[in-house]
Point group: C2
Chain length 458, copies 2
C-alpha cells in the first residue's frame, strides 16, 4: 500500500506543485484586517480541496477572527488517530521592493518555489494533504484515522485557536499531533524538533508633548520621547547581553550537561551560518554558543520602532510620540503572561515624568519540550531515515508554535514536529521560498510515517 | 508719507489677507523633491506680484535646487539700503490627519489664519511686501532703497543660498538685512531677536544582517540593529542631560552674569508654557532654566527614527536596518562642521562589529549674536514700540536661521530679526497658524521702521 502511494506521489508531483501555487496566490495575511477576505478565500480553497479528495467530514468553522478549516477521514476505531495541525495564513510581505518576484505570484527558480507562505506554512501543510491523497487515490483508504486542523491566525497570535480546541475536545480527540512548520537542521540533514521557544510580544508607546514641536524652539527643555524610548530600550540589556527586566530569568530551566554535549555534537557551521545571513560578528548572551543562544536561551528583540519624521531630507521636529514593538523568546519554564507583566513593570518604573506610557500585550505563547521516546517521535524518525538515508537529529528550535503548548494543555497530546524547511528559506523575509526537493521528501516522509505509526497498537 | 501708508494698510488689509491665502494654497514643500514644481510655482507667484507692485527689477534666479526670487526698488543712492530676506518654501505638513483643516486650504478661525506656512514664513515675508506696497501706492516711492531676497530652500538647509549670495555680492549690497522669521516673546510682548542657535543635522543608518530575519530563528545571536541604535542614541546624553559627544562643549561661550540676569527679568511663565504644549514635567541640562535651555544652550534631539515592522499587529522580524535623524542646536562659538565631525566620530567609535554604519550630514548652520546697539536694531525697536505701545525686549531664540551667519560672513551685514510669530503658532506642526492681528501689526511696524531707518545718515 505504501509502495503504490509513493509511486502515485512520483507520477502526480508536478500537479501537486501547481495546486500549491494556486494556494500561494491567495494573500492570506492575517495580521492586517484589510486582508480578511483573502484569509477566508484561502480557507474555502482548502475546504473545497479536501472535499474533492473524498474527505468524509469537512467544515470551515467561524471564529471571532479568521476561520478554522477542519477535515476528517476516519478509517477504523482500532487505528491510531493523527491530528495534523498547520496554518494557511502568512506573514505580511513587506518590504515589497526587496522581492525578486512578487510575493503572491509564485515562481520557480533553481528548483525553489518562491512566494510568501511557500515554506511557512502553506507548502508544509500541503505535504500532509498530498500524502493523504496518495493513499486515498491508490488504496482507497488510510493507514490511520486522520484529522486536519488548519488555522488562519498563526501569524497574528492564534488568538481564537485555544478557545476553539477547548470547545471541540471530542472532535479533535487523537493520539498524537503532527506538525510540519519547523526547519531541518541543515540541507540534507533531517531533524525532528523536540523543543520550541515561547513568545511574549508587546508594544510600547511614549507620549511627550501634546503635539509635534519645533526642535529649535522647544529643544533643550521638552524631553524627546524618541530619546526616552531609546534609553528604555538600551536599558533592557546589560554588558553581558543579559536581559535586565527584574525576575526575567527566574523560571529559566538551565541547560543540562547532556543537552550542552548534544549541542556541541550537532554539525553546526558557525562561519557558514554567519555568511548566509551576511553578518561578520555575532553577539550572544555571555557564556553561550550561537546554537544555544538561538534555540535554548531567552532573548529580547525590538521588532519595529517609529517616531518623528521618516521621510526624505531633514525635518526639525521634536515629536509628540515614539513607539516600538518588542518581543521576547522564552524557554521552559518561563510563562508568557508573567514575562509580559514583568516587562510592563520595567517600562512603568523607567518611564520618566516627562512622558506617558501606553503598554500593550500583543500576544504570547508557552515554550515546549517533547519526550523524544514517544512512539510517534520514533515512527517519524524511522520514516525520515527511509527518505533521507540517515536518522534525523532531535533538535531544539528558536521559533515559537504556541499551539503545541495548547495541544498538551487542552487535549493532553504531544506534538511531533517534523519540519522540512531550512533556515535559509527566508520565512518572514523577502524572497521566501521552499525547495521542491524538500516538498517531495516531505510528502514521502509523511507517507512512510502514516504507515509506520498506523501499525502500532493504539 | 507714513500716515498715508498706514491708512492704506487699514483700507486694503482684507485684500492683503486674500492675497496671502493665494500664496498659502501653493504646497511649496522644499524637502520633498516630488513638490519641486510647486516650489517653483510659489516663486513665480511672488515675482509676478512684485512686478504688479511696480518693482523696477524682478528676477527669478535659477539654482541647482529651488529658485531664488529677487526684487529691487531703488529710490536714491543717498538713502540707506535694506535687504529683506524671507523664504517661500514650507515644512512638510505630515501628520496630515492631525490638521483641523487641510494644510494647503487656508482657513480663518477665531482671528487666526490656518495653513502650512501661514507664519513660517510666507505670512511674515508678505508683511514686508505689503508695507512696501503701502508706500508705493500712496507716496509713489519708498523711504529707503529696498531689496528682497526670497529663497525656496530654507526648510531643506538653504544649500544653494550661500553660493548665490557669494556670486551676487554687488546685487545684494546693502546697509542692513531685515528678517521676519522669528517669534515675539509673548502675545502683546514684542521682541527683537539678537541671538539664534545654529544647527547640525545628521542621519545615521545601521545595517546588521543582510536581510530581515525571523526573530525566533535568529534572535539571541544576531545583534539587532534597532537595539544597537537605541544604545548609541541613549549614550548621547548623561545623567545631567549633558551631551556626551567628546569635545561637544569645547567652543560653547558661557552665558554672562548680565545675560542670565536679563533671562530672569523676562516675563516667562514656565507653568503656562508647559500647559500650552501639554507636558507636566521638563528636562533641561543640569543647572539651567527652561528659557536658558531652549535658547542659549546647545541640545540634541532625535527628529525621527525607524526600523523593522511599523504596521498593525505583530511581526516577529529581526530587521536588517534601523535609522535615525538626529539634530543638534548649537550656540556661539560652536561650529556646525566641527560638531558633525565629532558626532561622526562618536558613532564610528560606538558602532559595534555586528553592524555597519552609514553616517550622513544633512545640513548645518552657524549660531548668531547681533549687537543690540546697531542703528537698524534701534530703529526697529522704536517702530515696534509705536505699534505695540511698549518697547520690545531683546531676546535670544532657540531656532536656527543659518542665512544670518552667511549675510555676516559674505556681505558683512548684520541682520535685524523683527519677528511677529508666537511660539504657539505651531510652525512645523499640524494646525500652523498666524494671528491676523499680528499680520497687521507686522505690516505697520515695518512701515514705521522703513521711515525711521530711512531718516538716518548712511
Amino acid at each position: 500500500m505504501t509502495e503504490q502511494a509513493l509511486s502515485y506521489v512520483d507520477t502526480h508531483f508536478s500537479r501537486f506543485v501547481e495546486e500549491l501555487k494556486d494556494l500561494l496566490r491567495i494573500p492570506s495575511i492575517s495580521t492586517d484586517p484589510d486582508y480578511a477576505p483573502e484569509v477566508r478565500r484561502a480557507a474555502d480553497w482548502l475546504a473545497e480541496h479536501f472535499r474533492k479528495l473524498g474527505f468524509l467530514k469537512v467544515e470551515v468553522f467561524e471564529t471571532e477572527g479568521h476561520p478554522i478549516v477542519y477535515a476528517e477521514y476516519t478509517v477504523d476505531a482500532t487505528r491510531p488517530t493523527v491530528l495534523v495541525y498547520g496554518h494557511y495564513d502568512v506573514q505580511p510581505p513587506d518590504p515589497l521592493e526587496l522581492w525578486t518576484s512578487p510575493p503572491f505570484e509564485p515562481e520557480i527558480r533553481d528548483g525553489n518555489l518562491y512566494a510568501r507562505g511557500a515554506c511557512d506554512d502553506k507548502g508544509q501543510l500541503f505535504m500532509h494533504v498530498k500524502a493523504a491523497e496518495a493513499y486515498l487515490k491508490t488504496a482507497g483508504t488510510l493507514p490511520v484515522n486522520l484529522k486536519f486542523l488548519l488555522e488562519g491566525e498563526e501569524e497574528s497570535g492564534s488568538v481564537h485557536l485555544a478557545p476553539f480546541i477547548e470547545a471541540h475536545r471530542e472532535l479533535l480527540a487523537a493520539d498524537v499531533v503532527v506538525i510540519s512548520d519547523t526547519a531541518m537542521f541543515a540541507p540534507g540533514v533531517p531533524s525532528i524538533t523536540y523543543g520550541l521557544r515561547g513568545l511574549a510580544y508587546v508594544e510600547v508607546e511614549l507620549t511627550g508633548p501634546a503635539r509635534d514641536l519645533h526642535s529649535g524652539v522647544y529643544g533643550g527643555a521638552v524631553e524627546n520621547p524618541i530619546n526616552v524610548l531609546a534609553r528604555l530600550i538600551a536599558g533592557l540589556h546589560d554588558e553581558d547581553h543579559r536581559i535586565t527586566i527584574p525576575g526575567f530569568y527566574d523560571d529559566v530551566r538551565p541547560l543540562t550537561e547532556e543537552e550542552r554535549r548534544t549541542f556541541r555534537e550537532l554539525p553546526f557551521d558557525e562561519k557558514a551560518w554567519m555568511e548566509e545571513i551576511g553578518v561578520s560578528a555575532v553577539r550572544t548572551e555571555k557564556g553561550y554558543t550561537i546554537l544555544e543562544a538561538i534555540t535554548a536561551r531567552p532573548t529580547l528583540d525590538v521588532n519595529g520602532i517609529w517616531g518623528g519624521y521618516q521621510g526624505k531630507g531633514a525635518k526639525t521636529v521634536l515629536p509628540a510620540k515614539a513607539g516600538a514593538k518588542i518581543s521576547m523568546r522564552l524557554v521552559p519554564d518561563q510563562d508568557p503572561d508573567d514575562i509580559v507583566e514583568k516587562t510592563r513593570r520595567y517600562f512603568e518604573q523607567k518611564t520618566p515624568p516627562t512622558c506617558k506610557l501606553r503598554f500593550t500585550s500583543l500576544h504570547g505563547g508557552h515554550p515546549v519540550l517533547v519526550d523524544t521516546r514517544h512512539p510517534a517521535m520514533q515512527a517519524a524518525a524511522e520514516a525520515m531515515a527511509r527518505v533521507f538515508g540517515r536518522r534525523p537529529y532531535f533538535t531544539r528550535e528558536g521559533g515559537s508554535i504556541p499551539v503545541v503548548a495548547d495541544f498538551k494543555r487542552l487535549l493532553g497530546l504531544d506534538s511531533v514536529l517534523m519540519g522540512f524547511g531550512l533556515n535559509s528559506d527566508a520565512i518572514h523575509s523577502p524572497d521566501e521560498h521552499f525547495g521542491l526537493d524538500r516538498f517531495r521528501q516531505g510528502i514521502e516522509s509523511i507517507v512512510h510515517f502514516l504507515e509506520r505509526y498506523g501499525q502500532r497498537p493504539t
